[in-house]
Symmetry: C2
Subunit: 230 residues, 2 copies
Amino acid sequence: IVELENVKKVYTLGKAEVHALRGVTFAIDKGDFASIVGPSGSGKSTILNLIGCIDQPTEGVVRIDGTITEGLKDKGLTTLRHETLGFIFQSFNLIPVLNVYENIEFPLLLGKNRPSKKEIKEWIEFLVEAVGLADHMHHKSNELSGGQRQRVAIARALATKPEIVLADEPTANLDSKTGQSIIELMKKMNAELNTTFIFSTHDRTIMEIADHVIQLLDGLVVEDSKTGAK
Amino acid sequence: IVELENVKKVYTLGKAEVHALRGVTFAIDKGDFASIVGPSGSGKSTILNLIGCIDQPTEGVVRIDGTITEGLKDKGLTTLRHETLGFIFQSFNLIPVLNVYENIEFPLLLGKNRPSKKEIKEWIEFLVEAVGLADHMHHKSNELSGGQRQRVAIARALATKPEIVLADEPTANLDSKTGQSIIELMKKMNAELNTTFIFSTHDRTIMEIADHVIQLLDGLVVEDSKTGAK
Ligand SMILES: Nc1ncnc2c1ncn2[C@@H]1O[C@H](COP(=O)(O)OP(=O)(O)OP(=O)(O)O)[C@@H](O)[C@H]1O
Ligand SMILES: Nc1ncnc2c1ncn2[C@@H]1O[C@H](COP(=O)(O)OP(=O)(O)OP(=O)(O)O)[C@@H](O)[C@H]1O
Ligand SMILES: [Mg+2]
Ligand SMILES: [Mg+2]
C-alpha cells in the first residue's frame, strides 16, 4: 500500500546540505503493523513526512495505493491526506484554542461523506474514553499535560478511520501502562479494520509487537524484516 | 536542597477545577539523582514547574536552599532561576531563530560573573560534542529532528553548571543508545560537581540508576524511597 523506491531527501541549509535520506527502498503491505526504528536523526520523521505528503522527496519515488505522490497537485494531496491518511506528529500539532473533543472532531468535519452528528459524537466519546481523557474532554489542549496532549493527537488521527496511520513516536510522553493501552487500541483497529500502521519509534513494546521492522541508520535502510506474526 | 511541604496545585478552568497536586511532601538532598515517576497526568511536570519557580503552589510551601519560593519577588525568582537552576522542558522551549550553539550559549550571557569568551566557547563545544550534535552546531533549532532539539535543550540546561537541574522527560524522544550517553553525561556532572538532578520520567534506565525515587499517582506521593546507592 506504500512503496518507497531509492528515495533521497536533502535539506539545504545555506551552503551546507543535510542528507536526511540517502536512497531508501521498502514496501509496506496493507494491514502491516510496521515500525521504523533507528537513532535520533536517522531519518524516521522524514520518511513519515514523505509518506504523509507533507514533503516531497529530492529524488526517488513514493507511491501510495499505487499512485506516485510527486505527480499530485495540491488538490490531490489534500484528498489523499484527508481520506487515506491519519498522522500523529512527533510534536502533536494540536489546535491550542480548541478543546480535546473539538481537536478530535476537526478532521471529521473536513470529509465529504460525513457520518451523522449522533454517530460522530458517539465515536469521539468512545475515542476520548479509549485514550483515557474522559475527565478532560472539554479542556483546551494548552491546559493538558504533555502525555495528555499526545493522546489527543492519537485520537484525532484515528477519528477518520484512515486506511494508513502514520504514528511518529506516539508513546514518547506516556508511561508504560498508558502506552500499552494505546498500542492495544491501535492493534484492535489493525485487526478489525485492517488499518495499516507505520510507526517511527524507540518504544520496545511497539518494536516487539510489530510484524514488520525497518531499521534505519544515517538515512539508509540497514535491515527490513517482515515476520509472519500477524 | 529542595523541600516540598503539603504542596497543592489547583488549576481553575472556567467553573471546573483540576487538582494537579493534592498535598505533596518530600525532600531532595544536595547531590541526589532523583526521579519522579508516575502515569501521564499524575502531576510530575507541575512539581518541576513549582521547584523551577515558573509557577506558584495554591497551598503549601516550596523551599530551595532553605528559601521559601513564594516570598520571592520577580527579581529574586529570576536570580534563583539563572544562578541555581537549570531546566529541561518537556516541550524543549528552544529559541527557533537561534542555532544550536546560540541556544546553549544564551543562559551564559545572562549571568553576572561570566567566564571568558574563550572558556565559554570551549565549554559549549564540549557540550555540543557530548550530546552528539557536533555536525549540527550552526543549524537552527527548527532545522533539527525531535530528538536533536531535545538534546539542545539538555545542553542548554547544563551550560551554566547549575546547582539543581530539573529534567522533564529528557530522553522521551531519544533512542536508547543516545539516551544512555545523555544519562552518563548527567551522572558524571552529578559525581564531579555534586549537581542535584530531579527527573520526571518514564525511562526505565533513569529510574534504575536513580538513588531517590518518588512515585506519584493522581497528585499524591505514594512512595518515596531513597537508596544508599550513590
Ligand atoms: N495549564 C494547565 N491548566 C489546567 N490544567 C492543567 C494545566 N497543566 C496541567 N494540567 C492538569 O494537571 C494535571 C497534572 O499535569 P502534569 O503536566 O503535571 O502531569 P504529568 O505527570 O507531567 O503528565 P505527563 O507525563 O503526561 O507529562 C493533569 O491532569 C493536567 O490535565
Ligand atoms: N527542516 C529541516 N531542515 C534541515 N534539516 C533537517 C530538517 N528536519 C530534519 N533535518 C535533518 O535531517 C535528519 C533526519 O531528521 P529526522 O527528523 O527525520 O530524524 P528522526 O529519525 O526522526 O530523529 P528523532 O528520533 O530525533 O526524531 C537530521 O539530521 C536532521 O538534522
Ligand atoms: Mg523524529
Ligand atoms: Mg509532564
